[in-house]
Amino acid sequence: MGSISKAVVTVLGFDRKGIIARVSTILYERGINILDISQTVLDGYFNMVMMVDISEPVGSFSQLSDELNALGEELGLQIRIQKSEIFEAMHQV
């Protein structure tokens, strides 16, 4: 993975119980440390953004990504993980 070590997990969709618990469990099992977390619920619409450290993962990034996507499908939410450089590139000079 080279020098890339941070990623952003986002969860978008309608609020329900246990979202954070389920996402955190996957991250824990994959050896991922949560650095920062922010969450808002507006009119029942759930937005969560997590900054995570992926420098010592268990398994590959794509396995983690697939697992989070699958959880999203199960819960009827959009869950994804993206390496943080895309956001840094876009919003920082």
């Binding site: 986002t10 794509s62 390496k83 450089e85 895309i86 956001f87 876009m90 919003h91």
Partner: protein
């Protein structure tokens, strides 16, 4: 530290505004494959490409997944084939080898069945141009281009005449698919050597062994940004476009660097183009309409496009370490839903499109005209467009399809990214005697410019 708002904004741009990286194009030099045995030449070319680009598609998909941004196309461009076919009699085996290499590597297009003939044609150039109808009709992935003019050399009218005939023959050979073969052939003036976009991509003779060139996109993000500044003066419009283009290009730069690193190939350029697709919400025409025009093509369209094209460059240029390719706004008729609607409504004509090409990135692109258009008229359209490029020191191009059996008002369906196009009229008056002259139109003055 990036904040939540910025992260959600990026996601919105990708999900709703169709922000994507349009293409990662690997340029591969074939100069050292040269040999005078047809079969060995074809086999060397195939192996060179299949080896160099073996992981291109896989790496593209990995980057897509890592950053969560779609990379629509993975493509290959090669040295203009006429340059490596000088010692063999027939360029067609090379066309077939390129097509096989594209299939093997899984890319969706391979460009470079090309010749550079702005000053004159070698025997190999002539053979390649004559083989275009056969080469582009029997292959699936191959794209060709011919540079017929430059600002320094003028316009090669012999080549222009030949190409009018080749285009009509190619349309007829692919008549059952609406003349689709012509969508894979571009006639350039001032062609660039590092263009990542098809069908006009080739790996120029001034390039190194290999280069990764990336083309960005994002008409939807620009349109959306302009929706927030309704009624504001043009100063605000230009600033808004610049800001958006900057962000879009930063993604292109990130993807290009990452692709170059993972493929162990030098990073070439990022092409800052606004490339539309036929999908709703991904139209350059709709950006012009957002600026206050009822339909793209009406009075004011050239000015609107000039502003857009310039602002895209100004915004993008600081976001990338190397900018190149065509870099500007594309106005392909069949690939832009707003252009299609405007042409159907009669707002957008061939003449207005020609005027708009004076201020945008390329030229008359994906234009369907009646199937009975004479070759000399097609040649004359090529010459007009080349003249605009030559005199204004810019790249221009023509990708025109005389659709067999179709007349003005009919619609032709090309499918996928190529979209569909209404057949628009050409002038009925003849250019036959003009094109029959042949020879060269001299290069223009570079001083006393007015």
């Amino acid at each position: 530290m990036i904040n939540t708002g910025e992260i959600l904004e990026t996601l919105r741009m990708i999900d709703r505004e169709k922000l994507d990286v349009r293409t990662i194009t690997m340029g591969i030099s074939l100069l050292d494959c040269v040999c005078d045995d047809e079969r060995r030449l074809a086999s060397r070319i195939f192996h060179r490409i299949a080896t160099r680009a073996e992981h291109l598609v896989q790496v593209g998909e990995e980057i897509e997944r890592d950053f969560g941004v779609p990379i629509v196309n993975k493509r290959i461009s090669v040295t203009p084939v006429a340059l490596i076919a000088g010692a063999v009699r027939d360029p067609l085996p090379i066309a077939r080898a390129l097509d096989r290499a594209a299939r093997e590597t899984g890319v969706n297009f391979i460009g470079g069945y090309s010749a550079l003939v702005q000053k004159g044609m070698t025997e190999a150039d002539r053979r390649l141009i004559n083989s275009l109808p056969q080469a582009l009709s029997e292959t699936d992935f191959l794209c060709g281009s011919v540079n017929v003019a430059t600002t320094r050399a003028g316009i090669d009218m012999d080549a222009v005449k030949l190409l009018g005939e080749s285009i009509v023959a190619l349309a007829e050979k692919t008549g059952e698919q609406g003349g689709l073969g012509c969508a894979k052939l571009v006639v350039f003036a001032n062609a660039v050597e590092d263009n990542p976009f098809m069908a006009g991509a080739f790996h120029g003779p001034g390039e190194g062994d290999c280069a990764i060139n990336v083309g960005v996109s994002g008409p939807g993000t620009v349109k959306r940004a302009l929706e927030k500044v309704k009624g504001e003066p043009f100063d605000v419009v230009a600033e808004t476009v610049k800001r958006t283009a900057f962000r879009v290009t930063r993604i292109g730069q990130l993807v290009a660097r990452e692709a170059a690193r993972r493929l162990n190939a030098p990073f070439g350029i990022v092409d800052l183009s606004l490339a539309p697709t036929p999908t709703v919400g991904d139209s350059v025409a709709h950006i012009l309409e957002e600026m206050g025009l009822e339909k793209c093509g009406t009075h004011g369209s050239t000015a609107a496009l000039a502003l857009l094209n310039d602002a895209v460059k100004k915004g993008g240029v600081m976001a990338s370490s190397h900018v190149g390719g065509l870099s500007g706004a594309f106005i392909p008729l069949s690939e832009d839903i707003g252009m299609i609607e405007a042409a159907k409504a009669g707002a957008l004509t061939l003449d207005k499109l020609e005027a708009m090409t004076c201020v945008c990135s390329v030229g008359l692109d994906m234009i369907a005209v009646p199937g009975d258009t004479p070759p000399s008229t097609i040649s004359a359209i090529l010459a007009d467009e080349a003249a605009i490029g030559v005199v204004n020191n810019k790249t221009t191009a023509v990708r025109i399809i005389p659709v067999p059996g179709k007349k003005v008002g009919d619609v032709v369906e090309f499918g996928g990214l190529l979209g569909h196009a209404p057949v628009i009229p050409v002038h009925p008056f003849s250019s036959e005697a003009f094109i029959a002259r042949g020879g060269r139109i001299p290069a223009p003055m570079h001083s006393l410019r007015n």
